[in-house]
Every structure is written in structure tokens, then in C-alpha cells.
């Protein structure tokens, strides 16, 4: 018998960002159902700090840009409220302060350290100059890594009391979805939006 589709009432948020030396940071936020199917997507224009900001924010600048600027903007833009948000960016911790929705950092399958080297093994293919390099500065705001569902995971400090809830939600999602797979979709979509948006910008520039 054909299985009826499971209810898709719990949405899961995926928050990620890519960095381009030329343009700055691009953010993307994808909400998926428990079956991994897209419900909503938002991405940002690139964010590039000024030289003065680089000096003033120092090593905390990426956390400020990815978390407080890009992350919080994307979460505010979304119409759906997820039960859980997953990110592959250490700096995204600032997106939810205080964390109303549990925020989970997905480390690679291989990585087991707690140094913030998040992206080994995560697919981030393509010839684009956009990269997903990790930065330091927000490490202490995450819990220690724990292994679950084939991944090393961390949750935002302060969510310890919700660990059981977090793991239950992750387990529900992992029944059908590789936990890290949607990040690749976000990266591709950001690149696509940048590619097409770039063409439009070129056109406008030439017309002017």
C-alpha cells in the first residue's frame, strides 16, 4: 500500500551563509518540512563591512554580520516559524538572542573536535568564489559537541534544558533527511540568485 505522506506540520529552518572576497557575505534561510521539502526560502544581498567596521569589530565582525545582521534579518523575513533551526555557521549564534527557537549547529560527519572547524565533508561544490569558511569568535556560545544521528552537533548555550526536545526533533527530521544536505541547497540557491541578480545589475549599470 502506498504510504500516506506524514504530516508536515513541523517546519525546520536551515540557516547558512557564504562568503565572497569580492562581494562580502550572503545569507540564506530555508524552511523545510519533515520530509525535507522546501516551504520557504530567503536570501540576502551581500553584506560587506567597511574598513572602519573591520577595525572596530575586530574578530567579532563575522559573528556580527552573519548572526546579528544576516541571520536575524532572514529569520524576521520568514513567515513560518520553525520548531528547530539548524545552521552550519558557528557565527550564526547571534541570529537568535535570546534563542526563542532551539538553534543547532551541524558539524561534519568527520569532525569531532570543538574548535569550530565545521565544514569538512560538507558539500559546497561549484566553481564559485563563494565559500563557507569558518571563523572564530563565537565558539564559547555553543555547547560542547555531542554525537547524534551520524553528526557532531552543538546547540546554543542556554538550551541545555531543551536537549531532549532538540534531539527528538532532529530524529524526526533525520528519518527522511540527511541533516546536512539542505545546506548544499541553500548554497546553490544563493549562487543562483547572485548569478542572475548579477546579470540584472550589469544590465542596469550599462543602461545607466
Amino acid at each position: 500500500m502506498m504510504h500516506p505522506n506524514p504530516e508536515e506540520q513541523t517546519a525546520f529552518g536551515y540557516l547558512s551563509a557564504l562568503h565572497s572576497p569580492e562581494h562580502g557575505y550572503f545569507g540564506g534561510y530555508l524552511l523545510v518540512s519533515a520530509l525535507g521539502r522546501p516551504l520557504e526560502f530567503h536570501c540576502t544581498a551581500p553584506v560587506r563591512p567597511s574598513r572602519a567596521q573591520e577595525i572596530l569589530y575586530g574578530p567579532t565582525l563575522p559573528s556580527y554580520l552573519v548572526g546579528e545582521q544576516i541571520g536575524s534579518t532572514l529569520l524576521a523575513a520568514a513567515q513560518l516559524t520553525p520548531g528547530l533551526i539548524l545552521t552550519d555557521r558557528l557565527e550564526a549564534i547571534g541570529a537568535l538572542q535570546p534563542p526563542a527557537v532551539p538553534l543547532v549547529l551541524v558539524l561534519s560527519r568527520q569532525a569531532s573536535d570543538n574548535t569550530g572547524n565545521l565544514h569538512e565533508g560538507l558539500e559546497d561544490g561549484g566553481a564559485s568564489t563563494l565559500t563557507c569558511e569558518p571563523v572564530s569568535g563565537a565558539n564559547h556560545l555553543w555547547s560542547k559537541p555531542f554525537a547524534a544521528l551520524n553528526y557532531q552537533l552543538r546547540y546554543a548555550s542556554g538550551s541545555e534544558s531543551r536537549r531532549a526536545e532538540i534531539v527528538a526533533l532532529l530524529a524526526k527530521l533525520a528519518e527522511r533527511v540527511d541533516l546536512a544536505e539542505p545546506f548544499g541547497r541553500i548554497h546553490e540557491a544563493i549562487r543562483e540568485a547572485q548569478r542572475i541578480g548579477g546579470h540584472a545589475s550589469d544590465e542596469r549599470g550599462q543602461a545607466a
Binding site: C43, S50, Q69, L80, D178, A189, I196, A200
Partner: protein, 598 residues
Amino acid sequence: MNADRPRKTETRRMRGGTLFKMWQSELTNDGSHSRDLDSLSIAPPVCGPILLSLAPAGVVSWQLNNPRLRTIGCVFERGARSKNREVGGAEPGIGRLKRNNNEEQSRCSLLPAPRNTRVRPPRDLVKLEDRLRLLLEPPLETLLTSRGLRFPFPPFGYQLDGVAFLYPRPEAVLADEMGLGKTMQAVTAIRLLAHQGQLRRILLVCPKPLVTNWQREFAIWAPELPIAVVEGGPDRRQFFWREASQLVTITNYEALVRDRAQVCIPDNHYDLVLLDESQRIKNIASTTNEVVRAIPRSRSWALTGTPIENSTDDLVGIFEFVAPGLVNGQVKPKAIGRAVADHVLRRTKDQVLSDLPPKLFREAELDLSPEQTESYRLAEDEGVVRLRNLKHELTIQHVFELVLRLKQICNFDPTTGASSKLERLEADLAECALSRRKAIVFSQWVATLTELRSRLARFGPAEYHGQISQARREATIERFRDDPNCHVMLMTYGAGGVGLNLQFASYVFLFDRWWNPAVEDQAINRAHRIGSQRAVTVTRFLTANTIEQRINQVLEQKRALFDAVFNETTAPTNGGLSRDEIFSLFDLRMPANTGKAA
């Protein structure tokens, strides 16, 4: 300026989504949005300026302005339903499908290897929201498992790539080499789209002998999809066309042409028209081509292992159905290859089936027997003299008649029945029978096969050709497969060339050569396909210093043409068998008033 035009068009077409809402918002400090539908372009990089001020006491203070960060976004239909709490199990279209029973489900297996097969948007899909919708789809494996769609056998990775190719494309040609499972890929893509409610009415057109095969494939790979086969007499067919409400309607090319009045009418719209063995419409001037182009449809898919049989015009004929106007035969093969690149998926066994047993070729170049040599020389000399005497009345039919006559002598001497090919074949078959292997012998003539049948009786030959009724053909295949005393199947290229699965045969003999290599390849691939357990040895008979050798040179040119379009290698610009080439087989010159191209 010219270079700018496509971009302007692209921008205009990007505005205003139909499938889901898209907006661009500028988020202000307090989190409120302002919507702006004017542009989807990515803005210049932004970050807040730093404001410096000098306080009265002389203290310099600073304040960072939060930036106004632009976003683009979209809410999918599914997301909108979720927001309104209208989510549920069934999607549009699924209610029309039959349900598998529990037993069936339990016998099936889910997808095999952990693999993420991504669906990529076609190149000519220009709306950003449509491209994002496809890019953000989960991998094919997740799409399938999320709907509980199971497979009886684990598909190969390249087959899932083929499904991912078809899935987003309204215009597609799946041109995999024979034996790679084009049928399964098409059925699975149909299945997925049907379960998503994107396909509700599908017309599948195939050669008549393959109708049963398609029914069987649907039963294996998509047993829940309801199917109707349009067949029988005119009244019965008319009833089918009028009343059939099944998701998939299967018919054959001949019936379709006969029933064009029922099919090609505006209110008879199909979500998908799928042509199997689409080389059948290669002739753009043919009635079949005209009829398939006239069917109202949203998606046009074509399956063929031989998109080019003779010349690039064949591909043009197929594309006039798939994507009218995309290609024309006037441009060079490489340019055609570039034009169709995003619409055609072509893989060969060598590329994707590293574990398939090898296909070994043997060129059996034989001398004619003395009797054949004498008959051949006599026929050729007399024939050429006769052709020359025809002068301006000479037509291509006259030349063809001589070619066929000489080829027949290369098979058997008409007076004595002597045959160097048969002697070699008997020896090979004896070895084949000793090792308990099966062999297929192809010829273009039933008469040749009939002669072989009587002379190869000790090998228990089975026959499969145009004089064997459809009803007997299935039994013939079963006998060839199951009877240990039946070591050889005698087949014509026409009857046995397509759609048959004979992977239990280890030897293929091409007793005479067909006019183009694609048909030969199809014949060979009856045996060399998925499921083959042993290497397949192909023996191509060729008699030295005869018309067969000259034809073989033309065949090699045609292979080069195919490579030029699909493999981006250099090749002659036209490898087709022109009338000039046919006449030149006998050092004849074409009369001035005759046209081009065979």
C-alpha cells in the same frame, strides 16, 4: 547593445511569479518590511555607516547604524498551505492512482546506495523563482522516499541521474545507449510527477511490438499507475480515445496515425506525450511526424538510442516534436550538438556501466566461396553494364536492386547454396552449443533466415521476424531462453532490433550488414544490456572485395557523424549515405536531374 538584449528579456521575465509569492524586502532597524516588487537584482553590498560626533565636552563618541539589509524570498505553495494549516498527506493527483497492496510493498525495496541526486533547472528556465524552486527541491532519493515510492530492484545511479534530467524538463530527449534502461527512467520520472499531481494525462507512443514491454515495465516500476492500451479495431480504439480515463494511455505509431482525428484535437490535451523509439519520426515530412507534432501537450519527451541514424536531419525531425525550431539541419554538427546539449542526455555503457561484461567485436572478413565468387562477378559485371546502359533513365532504385542482389550472393550462392559465411557460422555455433551458450543471428532478409533455419537445424533454431505472428513471438523468446537445445535465434533487424531483452545470449552474429550502424547497434544491444552476466561477442561477417566492404566504409563514416554531434569529436561534416555515394559504389555518376540524400 545586442549582447544586452537577452538580459533585458530575462529581467522582465523574472518579475512576477506564478507558483509562489516572491518579494524583495528591505528590513529596517525595527524589523518591519517594506515590499518592493520592482526588482529581484542583488543590491550593492551594504553595511551601516559609522557616524562620529563631537560632544560639547570634547569627547568623541560613535554610533554604528544598523544596515538596511535587502532580502529576496519566496514562500512555496506547500509552505503557504503549512502556514494556513492545510497540510495533509495527499497531494493533487495522488488520489487518482491505484494503491499497492501491503504484500507488494513489503516485497519491494527502498532506494539503494546513499546518494544525493540533485534536480537541476534546465538552462532555458529563466524565471528566478522557478530556478530556485528546483534548486531547493530535496535530492531525488528524498523526493521518492518521502512519497513511499519503492523500487523492485535498486536502480543504478546513472538511472537516477536520468530521472533527475527528465523531471524538470518539458522538452527532453533521453538518448542513452540501448540497454541502459531508458524505459525505467521514463517510468520513474512519470511516476514521481504523477504523484506530485504534475501529470494527470499521459500519452505514450511506441512501436507496436513494444506495447507489451511497456505494460510490463509499468507493472514493475510503477504498479500503482493506471494504464490503458489503445488497440483493436477502429470502433474499439475510438471508444478508448473517447472514454479512457487512465493516467497513462499507450498506443502504437500506426494506430496513432490512423486515429489522428480523435487525438489531434484542441480539447484533447496531454500533460505529457512520450515517444519511444523516436527515430520513427526522424523524417520531418512523414505523416507520423506531422501527427505527433499536432498532439496538444505540455511536455514532450522522446526516447531513442539512435537519435542520428543517417544524418543530422534525423535529429531535426525528433526536435520538431520536442522543441520545434530549436535546431535545423543547415548548421554544422557541432553547432547542433551545442544547441541541443541541455535537452539531450546521452550516456553509453562504457561511461556508466563499468561492471557490465564487455562487448567484444570480431570482424570476420571472409573470402567468397568459388561458386559465390563466380556468381558475384557475373552479377556485378552484368549489373553494372545494365546500369550504364540505362543512362538518363537510371534511378536509385536500379542501383539498390543491384546492391541487394550482390549482398544476397555474399550470403548464399543462388545456384549451389554455397556460403562461406554459413561455414564459418556453423563452426562458431558448434563451439557455442558445446559451451551451452546462446547466440543470435541477424539478417535483413527472411529468406536468408529461412535458408539458415534448414541448414542449422542441429542447433534447434528459433525464428523471430516479420512472418512470425505477434502471438507466437513471446513463445519464441521463451523457447530460446528456456530450451537447452535451442542454441540460436534467427532474427531480422526489423523485427528484433528494438525493445527486446535477450541478455541471456552471449553471441551475436551479423550475417549481413544493415545500412546504418545505429540499427546494428540496437540489434547487438538486445544481448548486451543490463542483466548480462557474460561478455557478449559480436561477429560481423564481411566478404572481402565485395559490395559489403564498400558499404562498411560508409557505415564507419556514419559513426563518425554521430560522434561529431554527441561526443564533440572532429568528424566529416556529413556521413549520411547520399545518392552520390550510392552511385559511386559502382563507379557510376548520378544523372543530372536527380536530387540528394537517401
